[in-house]
């Protein structure tokens, strides 16, 4: 079990029990202490279940952003048997915020693309904290075109606060590349499976989010705008971020209800960051099962079904036709 230096306030009761367990384990254990230890371990699981089973929307955002939460790079080593990284967009640069490469999953050869946030401060800065620039999306598009050429399924791991907002990003066509990427993915003639593993931040997330199956990890979020951004615009202050998070209905269960995601992948007790291996196993199970369903489907059928999947999203009133 990982012991993080970064503790969310909501995790406090969990860490308290853990500290008691650690204290107990540091000394030789008699029968009585053994009994106490078993009791505390049960309490630990209960406490994790209770807290993580009842996260409010803002707490979900905090968990999704937890610095120890497994990232694309973790899943690349824990889920896949091999990763052959492919760099560069053949136009401007190599965006560290977007990883791409060949990978082996079970007996499938696939292309993986995913946002990368980095772990150390240096890495995180190099990745712009998971905010890709246009060259990131050009890189993922280039690799996807190649995957289509050689019939490789595509797996997209989504984890971004949003596409990078900056002068260079605008100069190099941030809006253009996100649009083009959706356009490309809509008709790419190979299976595409997308999983929001942490933050599903707006257009930057959707830019690699058009697939045959879209799933979310249980405590990930996926939203049209960051709660802070929404609060700033509608409440005129980012202090209302928790209200915005609630109003936006951005949690996995909400998106399942709206029919935007097909599956929610349950996280281990205490969240993915408490047990990355178990999380990776669950993700792998989902990916293998899903790919098995999709690889035998003819490309035309696949693309037609993908169209229908997105085509039916939206809620509006259609009154009995008047005129026209």
């Amino acid at each position: 079990m990982s012991r993080s230096l970064y503790r969310l306030p909501l995790e406090k009761p969990i860490y308290e029990v853990e500290d008691r367990i650690a204290a107990l384990e540091s000394a030789p254990l008699g029968a009585q202490q053994q009994e106490e230890l078993r009791r505390l371990k049960r309490e630990l699981v209960e406490s994790q279940k209770k807290i993580f089973g009842n996260l409010d929307p803002w707490q979900t955002v905090e968990v999704a952003r937890h610095p120890d939460r497994p990232k694309t790079s973790d899943y690349l080593s824990l889920v896949f048997d091999e990763f052959v990284e492919l760099h560069g967009d053949k136009a401007f640069g190599d965006d560290a915020a977007m990883l791409a490469g060949f990978a082996k999953l079970d007996n499938h050869k696939v292309l993986v693309v995913g946002h990368q946030k980095g772990k150390t401060l240096t890495e995180r800065q190099a990745c712009h904290f998971g905010c890709a620039h246009p060259e990131g999306y050009r890189k993922s598009m280039g690799k996807m075109r190649m995957a289509a050429k050689y019939g490789l399924p595509v797996i997209c791991l989504i984890d971004t606060p949003g596409a990078y907002p900056g002068v260079g990003a605008e100069e190099r066509g941030q809006a253009q590349v996100i649009a083009e990427s959706m356009f490309l993915m809509a008709t790419l003639p190979v299976p595409i499976v997308c999983v929001v593993i942490g933050e599903g931040g707006s257009g930057g997330a959707l830019g690699i989010g058009v697939g045959d199956r879209v799933a979310m990890l249980e405590h990930a979020y996926y939203s049209v705008i960051s709660p802070e951004g929404c609060a700033g615009i509608l409440w005129k202050s980012a202090d209302f971020k928790a209200d915005a998070a609630k109003a936006l209905r951005m949690r996995s269960q909400d998106l399942k209800e709206f029919g935007v995601v097909d599956a929610v992948i349950e996280e281990p007790p205490g969240g993915a960051h408490r047990d990355p291996r178990q999380m990776a196993t669950r993700l792998k199970t989902f990916l293998v099962r899903t790919l098995r369903e999709l690889v035998s489907v003819p490309a035309n059928t696949l693309v037609a079904a993908r169209y229908e999947k997105f085509r039916k999203i939206g809620v509006f009133i259609e009154a009995a036709a008047v005129g026209t």
Binding site: V167, E170, A247
Partner: protein, 290 residues
């Protein structure tokens, strides 16, 4: 079309006091005889600008035009047939900020005379039949929720089956509409997917960007034109200038995110003045087999 047309609003009631204080009218709600130009800050006699299709006679700045006015300016008189007028927005999230989205919809509808931020249909441009969509920046910042996404998707689908050239004029400062949450975000994918299909049938899509075209609208259909036109000096971009400023903490370059900036960086085919838009559209349609 029975929709209230801003340019038809009588000015007779505007008293001298109103006129001389140069009313700073809200976008889409013109009042008074005079208007301050956002481009040159001069106080302009409204009628004079209206005669120039709502372009400032002093500095050429392109003012707001409503979707209905746009249709009148672009399509041959009496040829427009509006589609999907029976679609209405609803409040799927039960969204509340300082007020409820449900209330906001009603008041925006009353204020603008629109049912939502886009209208779509078919008509003629100098006798060439086209499918045409226009977003109106006065309705919740011209943002795209389910109705805008659905109207545009149906528009693209009808252009595909009817083999019609497609023109979408964008005016959206709001991008994807927050009040419909993830459903708004997904409209970006939905319309883009329809455009991908349309493109595979060799359909011609001309996207016209007007002030402002931002966020999720810029990052979806508006950027997917086979040809991308922009009106002069329009604000066009992905992230809002304030967001960028807050992130990078430096002053933004002069002319950042304008039509001219995008042209310089290679994202726009032509900057077209409003008075020339109709003839320019007709001309390129002819080149592309329309």
């Amino acid at each position: 079309m029975t929709r209230r047309h801003p340019s038809n609003v009588s000015h007779a009631g505007a008293n001298t006091e109103n006129a001389t204080t140069a009313i700073q009218s809200k976008r889409g709600v013109p009042e008074g005889l005079w208007q301050k130009c956002d481009g040159c800050q001069a106080t302009i006699y409204r009628k004079e600008a209206e005669d120039l299709l709502n372009v400032c006679p002093q500095c050429g700045y392109h003012w707001y035009v409503s979707a209905a006015q746009r249709i009148e300016q672009l399509l041959d008189a009496g040829t427009f047939e509006e589609w999907d007028t029976n679609l209405r927005p609803t409040d799927p999230l039960g969204f509340h900020d300082k007020r409820s989205y449900a209330d906001r919809i009603v008041s925006e509808q009353k204020r603008t005379g629109l049912s939502d931020a886009a209208l779509t249909g078919t008509g003629m441009i100098r006798a060439r039949r086209v499918a045409c969509g226009v977003t109106d920046s006065s309705f919740i910042m011209g943002s795209m929720g389910s109705v805008v996404g659905e109207r545009l998707t149906r528009l693209v689908e009808r252009a595909t089956t009817g083999k019609l050239p497609l023109i979408i004029i964008s005016a959206s400062g709001g991008g994807a509409r927050m009040h419909e949450g993830i459903l708004s975000l997904m409209q970006m994918a939905k319309v883009s997917a329809a455009l991908a299909r349309y493109s595979h049938t060799r359909g011609l899509f001309i996207s016209v960007l007007t002030n402002p075209t931002m966020g999720g609208v810029a990052a979806s259909f508006a950027s997917l034109g086979d040809l991308v036109f922009a009106e002069p000096r329009a604000l066009i971009g992905f992230a809002g200038p304030r967001t960028i400023k807050a992130t990078i903490r430096i002053d933004l370059p002069k002319g950042f995110q304008t039509s001219e900036f995008l042209l310089e960086h290679g994202f726009i085919d032509r900057i077209v003045a409003r008075k020339d838009l109709k003839s320019e559209l007709a001309r390129v349609i002819d080149y592309c087999g329309g």
